[in-house]
Structure formats: C-alpha cells, structure tokens
Symmetry: C2
Subunit: 171 residues, 2 copies
C-alpha cells in the first residue's frame, strides 16, 4: 500500500485529535504506528489511553513539558533536535506503517530546527510509510510537498469566553 503525506494545520481544535483518531483507525487495521510529539512533554490523557490499551501504537515525546512562551531555550532546541534524529530513524527504517510528527509545525515555527532538514526527511520516507504532520502555522513549503492538507479553522471557541481546559476533553 502506498503511503502519503498528510498535514493538519490551522488555528482550530482537532489537529492532534485527528492524528490520534487516525492512529486508532490504523491500529484497528493491524497497522503499526509511531507517534513522536514535538514541544509537548507532558503526559496527556490520549497518551495514557494509548500506552494502556493500544499495543501497536508507540508514543514518545520530544518536548520539555512546558510551552514555549517567547524565545525557545537551548534545552528546547536540543530536545527537538534529538526528536528529529529519532524520527529520521523511525521513518527511514520503514517498520511503522503510519508515522505521526505531532506539533512538528510548531517546532518549525520556533525554529527549533531548519525547515530544510524536515523537507529532506519527508522526501526520504519509504514509499509505504504514511507520514502525518500536525501543528498550526504549517509553512507553504511543507504544504507544497504534502499530498493531503486540512486546515482546522476556528469558527467559534469557548476559550473565547474564558473557559479553562478540562481533563479528558482538552488534555
């Protein structure tokens, strides 16, 4: 089966959850999935469910557990670079049918690594690997290479009314 490159971007809710839903679907078909999460370093409830119940999905984090506010630190950069190296191996060895690089667009946005490094990696993927990139601010160069791009557009969001993130719903 030929694999493609999917991108979920935009400012609306649903990018990471769509990628995770895709992982769930793949698991149901007996495919092997690897999820690498950039910037994030906190255990979310989706990670708990995967680790506990879904044995064909491996999940790993390459972030520090706190969001980058203005300028990334050296530690942010080194964690993301390490992640990129690890993803390179995972993608290129072709052992996983679906590989998700969650929030990789955010890592690019904060210049944690160069866009050329990511583009080279995308182009080097084995033919059968489905590669899924998420995160707002996907740059045009990434969109150009991708086969499928969905923009999650925020039409309305309760955060606008000052509601706090809730366990099991937002994280």
């Amino acid at each position: 089966m030929k694999g493609y490159i999917q991108v979920y971007t935009g400012n609306g809710k649903g990018k990471t959850t769509a990628a995770f839903g895709q992982a769930l679907r793949a698991e149901g078909a007996g495919l092997k999935v690897f999820i690498g999460q950039f910037v994030k370093g906190k255990t979310y409830n989706e990670n708990v469910a995967i680790t506990k119940y879904l044995k064909n999905i491996t999940i790993k984090q390459f972030g520090l557990g706190c969001f980058i506010v203005n300028t990334p630190t050296e530690d942010d950069i080194s964690a993301a670079r390490k992640g990129l190296e690890e993803m390179r191996k995972i993608i290129q060895n072709g052992k996983h049918d679906v590989v998700i690089m969650d929030e990789v667009n955010i890592a690019l946005y904060y210049k944690l690594f160069e866009i050329d490094e990511l583009i080279e990696l995308m182009k080097s993927k084995p033919d059968h690997v489905e590669l899924i990139l998420t995160g707002r601010y996907a740059p045009q160069e990434i969109i150009d290479i991708a086969d499928l791009v969905t923009e999650m557009k925020e039409v309305k969001h309760y955060y606008q009314d000052g509601i706090q993130a809730r366990e099991g719903i937002e994280f």
Copy 2:
C-alpha cells in the same frame, strides 16, 4: 465538570477522526463515551479498535451500510429516526460524559429528520455532558448553539489525483 457542544464540519479530512481522538483522550481520563454514527452502517477500522480495546467507549451505528446517493429511501429515514431516539435517551440519562453524534450534519442535510428535533435535543443535554457533532454542511442554526466549532477545510487532497481509499488510513 461542565460539558459543552462541539461541532466538526467542513469539506476536509479529519472530522470523524478528531471526534474519535477526542473519545480516546476521554477514555484515558476514565470518562465514559458513547458514539452514535448516522448514515454510516459499515464496520470501519476505528470501530474495530474501539470495540476490541477501549471498554469505556460504546459505539453504535444508525445507517444502512451504503452511502445515500441522491434521495434517501424510507429505510434511510427510519434508521436515522431510530438513531435520534436512541441518542435522546443516551444524552438525557447523562450516564456518558462524552456523547458523539458522528455524521449527524449529513443526516440533517439529507433531511432524515428535522433540524428542530436536533436543536431541542442539544438544548436538553444535562450540564455535565460534552456533546460532539460531526459532518459536513453544519447549518448555521447548529453553529449558533454550539460552543466550539471547527471547520475542517480541504486545502489539498490526494483524492483529487484519483487515489482510492486505503484500509487503515481512510476507513
């Protein structure tokens, strides 16, 4: 915890998978989830994974297993109406923290039931229930009542190049 109403609509890929990712996250937090699928009546791989591994998520279909092409049949209408009645009980008894009405916007689009019936149901939900509606063509009245609305906008799709749906990826 207060529950809200979320809508995932638009012509892009990721609406159902975002709702299912949300279900996975909720399962990780120990919440109870019910997924009712309108129009759909075929066992997708996401359904397989849920039934097999995720015990806090119940999934049920209210469709006939084939897509509606032009005009819905009496059977399509009666299946959807039965689904709406069942969802009413599920929502109003409040035993599930997260209730997903997958493709309910499509059911509305094909006039399988009246929009007023759905609006009444949305307004009657217990305060703690998170209600998630998916499907393209969400009408403005539904968007007006919802707390969070994401439009999945197709920027680019490999279907445009005539690629067939693949097991574990599209279904």
